[in-house]
Amino acid sequence: MKLKTSLLLLLLILLAASLSACVGGGAATATSWPGLTVDENTAYVAYNREVRAIQLADGKLKWSFPEEPNNSTTFYANPAISPDGQLIVSSYNHVLYSLNPETGSTNWEFTDAGNRFIAGPLAVEQGIFAPDASEILYALDLEGKLRWTFTTEGESWSQPIADPDCECIYLGSMDHTVYALNPADGKLIWQTEGLGGAIVGIPVLGPGGVLYVGTFGSQVIAIDTQDGKKIWSAPTEGWVWAGPTLSDDRLYVGDLDGNFYAFDANTGQEVWQITADSLDGQIVGSPLVLEDRIYFTTEAGILYSLDKQGQNLASVEVGGKLYTSPVAAGDLILVAPVQAETSELLVALPKDVSQWQDGQSVWAYIPEENKK
């Protein structure tokens, strides 16, 4: 009996240890992948406990925020640069920060949000628009004062976008709909019907009043910005995480099954598809289109490029997992891997794919703590 009781006690201890080991604490730690934004000379990377400014010229660290990082303040969303030159960063500790992009010093903080900011903020002339994970969109002026809030029917993990033609902002939501709001007062202009799946990617606005979104319902959908009605929907094999990218009447998008597509933006007809057999890993980030080439990343840590006809596929292995959308900076393509063996946080590769053959990056930024 003593042996049996001891065994039971041991099992209880093991159970507690197993549960704790699963997450390292009480609840699952909320995490994401790096947020990445660039201006003329600097890349801003929001990841884990810090926002870092990295010089595009040489990949050297310019500054990091906060001065004393701590585990309760984490950053993952794409920072935004406002028209008056503020760097707006959203955090998982329910705070929105305005930083000086030159020094990383704080201009102001908005601390009244009720939940973590998973989406990046939109910063435009009309103000700052930041949805938190508790179904509330906060509208602030450029000094960080709250102007209004709007409550959606579900969480919003997607950055809003602005439409200068109609003085609207559009917000894709986990509640399977898209909202059009008046940025002046937060009044609802329209809300789409259910689109068959959550929207977590950033919508893209096309000419002629059409908004395009990708959904977890394995569809790319075109929406009329006049009334929120669906114009067409195009099926994909897997769930679509990122928003599509629009270029010359073509929409380019990848899905979580690892397929990559080009759709006609006017009709939704599939123009071509690269199947998952030819690629490696889930496609989470939005593609980047530069001149005549398309760039996209996969979970397997590979940056791919192909031409607009879906031909001449080139690839370079960066390592780690690539979920963040690639970003252009002059002649560079920036990618932000996670769990890279060599611990890079940001890697700059040449835009010219003929230089990918040796697999060499132009530069790579490795945080000091990762070098130890």
Binding site: M1, A16, S32, Y76, F216, L256
Partner: protein
């Protein structure tokens, strides 16, 4: 295939998808999905529960036997010899000393799997949601269900009770944890067969009846409250199962009537 893939294939994926399927059937209510899932788990593991009861009964019968009492008396000063003789007796009487532990062992992967399933089905952030998408079967139609509604009664099933519980003067009243402690305590009491008084085993059982509810209460308070809902439901269903078999020991709840004569 590594161990985590085997775990996902055999435990985690079936759990996540069962929960999703039940959630879909039950009008998108994750609390009800956990309750129905728990009842199904108790039904599936019923043969083990029944086996545990038989093992426990056999053990009790053996401990009342003359041979057992004789060797206790004879070797009371020689622990090693006593242990050897006890093992011999276990063999002779066909009693497996660990037979009643099996249901507890079975609970292990269920609790860990359910904990992971709740965390992944109610993802707090993109990494967890992306991970979740790798576990869903096509037939569950998960795309139309996400995000799952994590609210049930006063609970947010995706977070620990300490994060949403009713607070008075800054102190969160752990209602769920208390329910888990009380239901585990009563279940242990009601399901413990009458013991031969004064033996070492009875002392151990009393200790376990005290520590086990506290331990479960700690888990309920610290981990997502969906797990606490599983504990409470599992305890209640367990008591009902024993009651249906006519094996509840109500006398354990009344100390005076259970006292040694």
């Amino acid at each position: 295939m590594d161990i985590s893939q085997i775990w996902s294939l055999l435990i985690l994926n079936p759990m996540i998808n069962s929960l999703l399927w039940i959630y879909n059937v039950l009008a998108n209510n994750f609390g009800l999905a956990i309750i129905v899932f728990t009842i199904l788990v108790r039904l599936v593991t019923y043969p083990l529960t029944s086996q545990q009861m038989k093992s426990t009964q056999k053990m009790q019968d053996m401990q009342k036997s003359k041979q057992w009492l004789d060797i206790q008396k004879k070797y009371k000063d020689n622990k090693e010899k006593l242990s050897q003789e006890q093992m011999k007796l276990y063999k002779e009487m066909g009693v497996n000393p660990f037979g009643s532990c099996l249901p507890t062992l079975i609970q292990f992967p269920i609790i860990i799997g359910l904990y992971q399933a709740i965390n992944q089905a109610l993802p707090p952030a993109p990494t967890q949601l992306l991970n979740f998408t790798n576990h869903v079967y096509p037939f569950t139609n998960a795309a139309s269900l996400i995000p799952l509604n994590s609210y049930f009664l006063w609970m947010d099933l995706s977070v620990p009770e300490k994060d949403f519980g009713i607070a008075i003067a800054g102190f969160t009243i752990p209602i769920l944890a208390i329910l888990v402690v009380v239901s585990t305590f009563f279940q242990s009491k009601l399901m413990t067969p009458p013991s031969t008084t004064g033996d070492q085993g009875a002392g151990m059982t009393r200790a376990m009846n005290l520590y086990m509810p506290l331990f479960m209460g700690y888990l309920a308070y610290s981990f997502p409250s969906g797990l606490a809902l599983y504990f409470v439901t599992s305890n209640l269903v367990g008591v009902l199962q024993y009651a249906a078999m006519g094996k509840l020991n109500w006398r354990n709840l009344i100390p005076a009537r259970n006292a040694p004569k």
